[in-house]
């Protein structure tokens, strides 16, 4: 029979009263996290739909606007994020095998890489301000496709902004985890938060893996070399 551990309600590793086994509790958390990520996919999905619709209807304008993005910075950021996924996976692994110090270091590395990404993003956004590529009153884009280029930049800011917001949340979560890992909360028997945050972090990375080619690469710079 199960023994509900109501006497330790505050302890994170405690089995909550409504679960029968620790395994059931972990299964529930994992399924819940995956469902949450599915809602996130649908959330970003609305914006991807807007992107696809714009891309088809205003093909030329999207191509020209995409041209102005800095592929080098985008590529650097892609690399940074892929590396951060690696350090995150290593942090989860360290938690699994119970290397408590390693967890902290890998989490800190992930935070550092995440901040690097956000820093590069700030540089890019600044660039847009300077060139009047921010939608609104001061928007300016040369050529006949200015109007639809504004839609491209709206989608660009919408998608990368939402993504960056997810990064900020992720960095915050990692910071909390790092503190708790430093206090030795996580053991090979209980590391669900590390694993769940890892899933979230990988998800945010994957969103960028789609954003980078769609916004920066697709049909833009290759078209230029053709001219």
């Amino acid at each position: 029979m199960s023994t509900p551990s109501a006497e330790h309600p505050g302890h994170p590793a405690a089995l909550l009263h409504h679960f029968d086994t620790a395994e059931q509790q972990k299964d529930a958390s994992t399924l819940g996290m995956w469902l949450f990520l599915i809602t996130e996919i649908m959330f970003f999905g609305g914006m991807f739909t807007a992107y696809v619709a714009g891309r088809f209807r205003f093909h030329e304008a999207f191509k020209e606007a995409s041209n102005t993005l800095d592929v080098t910075l985008g590529a650097i950021n892609t690399t940074v994020l892929i590396c951060s996924s690696l350090t995150m996976a290593l942090a989860v692994h360290a938690a699994q095998v119970g290397k408590k110090k390693q967890i902290v270091w890998f989490l800190l590395a992930t935070i550092l890489l995440g901040c690097t990404f956000l820093g590069v993003k700030v540089v890019e956004y600044h660039d847009k301000f300077v060139h009047h590529h921010v939608p609104g009153l001061h928007f300016h884009f040369p050529g006949p496709n200015a109007r639809n280029a504004e839609m491209f930049f709206s989608i660009y800011f919408g998608m990368t902004g939402l993504h960056a917001l997810h990064m900020v949340v992720g960095v915050g979560l990692l910071a909390v985890l790092a503190v708790r890992a430093g206090k030795g909360w996580f053991t090979p028997d209980y590391y669900t938060p590390v694993e769940m945050t890892g899933l979230y972090w990988h998800f945010v990375d994957i969103v960028w893996i789609f954003l980078f080619p769609l916004l920066y690469l697709l049909g833009a710079h290759f078209a230029i070399t053709g001219h």
Binding site: H17, T39, F44, A50, A53, F153
Partner: protein
């Protein structure tokens, strides 16, 4: 061992004080928190409806100005859809019953459940705030570019309110899915689950998959309004029809968030009142999932006159007909269950009958609207208004009230008074038809929706509709009084006043905080009435 002392206590008496309610993680208490909140919203939304019907008593726009009228129907729609109908059955009855029906001690994530109520309250407060400040006039559909650029009413606050409330819905759906997957009692296989659980599972899929899309859509409207981003506004190269696609991708399935759990309620009521296994149980269960899946593929029937391509229109028309099949399966199977059942006609069953009849009318007129040719004629007329009120009011609210009567003794430990309850079912049924059937005729004759004045030839039918609305309002007020009355004076009931099957009837009424003193073990399919009473039924 430790339960001897707790046996006298139930979830209502386990703890007292405001704090014990506001910080509760008990799914049953959270259900009651939701019940109180949405009841408030129901009467608020109803008040707007009263003003709408009063204005439409006379052909001239004399009671309110057109701008005020725009705000009235917008806030009626916003409040009724987002703050009453969508949470009604899942967040109240579902919250209360899902763990009880599957033999669990709580939902998988109790704190998330409480958080969802707070999120709901914050979103609701913002929407009420917008109404107090001066209201919104975009219609509950928030069509762009009017909502994102031109309307100078409180679109932003309302949009933020709805955006926030969406997450309450997402969290409830997520909680239900995980709970149904991971917390079922031993022996409760998928095809032994009550149909209410199947229906809530299907509705949860929509909440989890659909709600984020409307959230991001409203977010985009918000940023377009606030920062001049350009997604939907054609003036700066955006695409207004894109909004309609994204909005209806959620808002059509949202109707199934209202109606699917209600259908689950009806299945429970029909089984309990006929004392039979639901005819074609597996098919009814699968029909819920089929409605959820197909429901995602029909949104284009709202865009038949929005410049959508003819071919897309044909596909959406066909798929809209297709979603009628699983819905009809349910109606036929309930009817087949009623045939030669040991039927009793207590209040919940009267409501169930009301549901089946009104839902059928709503569904069939929905098929008429799914026909592209006819839709062009009646688009944006009162025909559409009547159709969706037959589904959402005649269907969803009838079923919700039927469920409230059926499980009221389980929630409170007391029975409601039968006679006024039967009266309320009758009054609501009559009042509803009197209100909305004339609107089918009005729409077919060409009266457009969303205007505060109309030609004189439409007055007779409009007066009938307003008269019906007052009957309906009386019908809705009745349960308020006798439910509250029964809290104190209602007859005390035992575990199972209906003699119904289902795990929720095994535990005491009201249930203890952790639902079951001993986790039940399931050994039979749902609604196994025949096992006990089979011989009797064969002879009669």
């Amino acid at each position: 061992m430790i339960t001897a002392r707790e046996e006298k206590l139930n979830y209502l008496t386990a703890d007292y004080g405001v704090k014990s309610w506001l910080l509760t993680v008990d799914h049953k208490r959270i259900a009651l928190l939701y019940l109180a909140t949405i009841t408030l919203f129901f009467f608020l939304g109803g008040a707007f409806a009263v003003l709408i019907r009063l204005e439409l008593l006379t052909p001239a726009g004399d009671l309110v100005q057109s701008q005020t009228y725009n705000k009235l129907f917008t806030m009626h729609g916003v409040i009724m859809v987002f703050f009453f109908l969508i949470p009604a059955v899942p967040a109240v009855l579902g919250n209360f019953l899902v763990p009880l029906m599957i033999g669990a001690r709580d939902l998988a994530f109790p704190r998330l459940n409480l958080a969802s109520w707070y999120i709901f309250v914050i979103g609701g407060t913002l929407s009420i705030l917008a109404a107090i400040l001066g209201g919104v006039d975009t219609g509950w559909t928030f069509y762009t570019p009017y909502s994102s650029t031109y309307s100078n009413t409180y679109v932003m606050i309302t949009a933020v309110g709805i955006f926030i409330t969406g997450f309450a819905s997402i969290l409830t759906g997520l909680n239900f899915i995980v709970t149904i997957h991971r917390m079922r009692a031993p022996g409760l296989t998928w095809f032994r689950m009550p149909l209410f659980i199947w229906a809530n599972y299907a509705a949860s899929l929509i909440m989890v998959l659909g709600t984020p899309v409307v959230a991001v859509t409203i977010l985009l409207v918000g940023v377009e309004r606030a920062f001049g981003l350009c997604i939907f506004n054609p003036n700066c190269g955006g695409d207004p029809v894109l909004f309609q696609h994204l909005f209806w991708f959620y808002s059509h399935p949202a109707v199934y968030i209202m109606i699917l759990p209600t259908m689950g309620v009806i299945s429970e009521l029909v089984a309990a009142c006929t004392r039979k296994q639901i005819f074609g149980y597996k098919l009814v269960a699968m029909a819920s999932v089929a409605i959820a899946v197909l429901g995602f593929l029909v949104w284009g029937h709202h865009l038949f006159v929005s410049g959508q391509s003819v071919y897309a229109g044909l596909v959406f028309s066909f798929l809209s007909y297709a979603v009628g099949i699983p819905s009809a399966v349910k109606v036929f199977n309930w009817t087949a269950t009623l045939y030669k059942g040991a039927n009793t006609y207590q209040t919940p069953m009267l409501y169930a009958f009301g549901f089946i009849g009104l839902f059928t009318i709503g569904g069939l007129t929905g098929l008429m609207l799914a026909a592209t040719g006819l839709d062009v004629h009646v688009h944006d007329t009162y025909f559409v208004v009547a159709h969706f009120h037959y589904i959402m009011v005649g269907g969803a609210i009838m079923g919700y009230l039927g469920g409230m009567h059926f499980w009221w003794p389980k929630m409170t430990g007391r029975m409601y008074p039968e006679l006024p309850a039967k009266l309320s079912a009758l009054v609501i049924f009559v009042g509803f038809n009197l209100t909305f059937f004339p609107q089918f005729l009005l729409g077919y004759l060409g009266m457009p929706r969303r205007y505060h004045a109309y030609p004189e030839e439409f007055q007779v039918l409009n007066v009938m509709s307003t008269a019906g609305a007052s009957v309906l309002a009386f019908g809705y007020a009745l349960p308020m009084f006798y439910f509250v009355w029964s809290l104190r004076y209602g007859q005390r009931v035992g575990n199972n006043p209906w003699g119904a099957k289902g795990l929720e009837w095994l535990t005491s009424s009201p249930p203890p905080t952790h639902n079951f003193d001993v986790t039940p073990i399931v050994t039979e399919p749902a609604y196994a009435y025949a096992a006990e009473e089979g011989a009797e039924i064969v002879h009669t």
